[in-house]
Amino acid sequence: MRWLNNIASRAAFGFAVVWGLTAVAVVGSVVLARDASDVLEGTLIGYADDLMHASQAQFAAERMVAVGRGYLLTREPELLARAKEAESDLDVSLHLLDRGDARPSERALLREVQSSASRYRQLLDQSFDTTSATEDRAARANVLRDRLLPAREDLGVKLGTLVAHKQSLQLAARLRAGQMAARSVRVTTGLGGLALILSAILAWLFTRRLGEVSRLERAMAQRATRALVAKEELLHVIAHDLRSPLTAIVLRAASMALGHRDEDMARSAAAIQSICERMRRLIQSLLDAATVDAGRISIAPARFPVETVIMAIMETFGPEARSTSVHLDWEVTPPQLAVWADRERINQVLSNLIGNALKFTPAGGSIKIVVHEEGANVRFEVKDTGIGIRPENLPHVFERYWKSDAQARKGAGLGLYIAKGIVEGHKGRIWVGSSPGGGSSFQFELPIPEMRAEENRPSLATSPSPVAPKGSLAGRDQHAHG
């Protein structure tokens, strides 16, 4: 079972790895996708801003020329103010174009734009100053236009270059964002697929492994069953071969006892017969135990009154109990209680229990068989006032070949094992309660099958004695009860 646990823990580990991979894939792809969308949004906004600022700058430069010319022609101070206003607009636009995150190449182009702009403003200011003395307004305006236009064109070109450059940078950024998005999809798909494949492999591996385990277990169980059945069959063969010579010994001993008037010889012959009887019981026990081992105990159930089997038991064990001064008594409530079971087998169980009780109950003690209904079961109890069982031995009494120290000299230690097998063959259960010096109480319960439950209720109204013991047993009923 330990290596099965290993499989379980390895499976848990494997699936943890798969889940980890899946989690990393999900988190990674979320991060990548978010980055990509940030970049995309940033570049789009930046691009629109730059275009706007550049066109505002050009517009301001245009206004400077137009308003400047107007001022030179009219000398209106208001026009001069507007020219100055356009100048500051140009400054603002250029300043806005100069963003903090600009790259070196961008910055160089920006500086060129700025120097071109300052040259332009210088030229404009100079023309306002130098031309103030000259009176020919038209000439002044023409001079202004001739000197300023190339500078303005230069500024326009520089601005155009800057915007184009920014545009190319933004395009690159957009491409990068696209690549990131694509990569995030690739990473997600890849890791997810990997996790899927790994989990499939793991599932396959462990399914196969567990299948192997259960197959092995089945094979082992089959082998064990086959071995037990083989053992049972072998025992049957041996038992058959043993029974014939045993019969021969029994018959010879009987002939010996009859043929001789010698008392010693007769005693020996009787002893041989009782030894043979022990051997017969031992062979039967070995066979029954092997049958229980092989799980092939045969149960031929029929409905019978509990009292009939108790009568048979009393008949068998009454003389022995009397000879050892043990009071053997019984009680069945209600008296007509019937069970659905194999009568011979139940007799065997009770015989084993009573036989044990007699072995361990000293003279003057008592043994009582109590049978009553207990819910959906019929409960049998055999309690004695014997020496009891030590607590450490209690869990073992139903094991095969178990013997108490006191019992070690006789019996095979199979009686309780067989009793358990028979009771369990009836789908019942058997247990024991005992304490050293306080006697023992062996109990077993047989289920009343539901279909039979009604049958088991004694119907006193319709028949006064529905299950009276029959035949020769009836006569001994009262006698044994007393």
């Binding site: 049957h236 058959h240 014939s244 045993l246 019969t247 021969a248 029994v250 018959l251 002939s255």
Partner: protein, 126 residues
Amino acid sequence: LASLLVVDDDRDLAEAIVTALESERHEIRIANHGGEGLERIYEHRPDLILLDVQMPALDGPAMVRRLDPLDRDGSPIPIVLMSGIDGLATIAERLGTSFFLRKPFGVDNLIHVVRAALEGHSASRP
């Protein structure tokens, strides 16, 4: 006084049965397997057969089946089956006899069943 045939592959048991039945003063023959049993029956028709179930070559039930045709003209020979096999009662019933001895059996049982079978009583459960 009756004539009995004991058919059992265990010679010790067959002879022990002969000894145990001495007091009954029957004339008893022995056969060690079914084939020999049939021979003995041809030679001298017995009044009762004590028959083992499991024997090499020709077993008890097979011997009884071969015996059946012989019985057509007369009444069948009563048979007592002897075995330690499970389901002995069923085997006996199938062979049409209600007499059987479960091995190992005692001398009292043996005498009781032999008497009952000879007298033709049906209730003979040992």
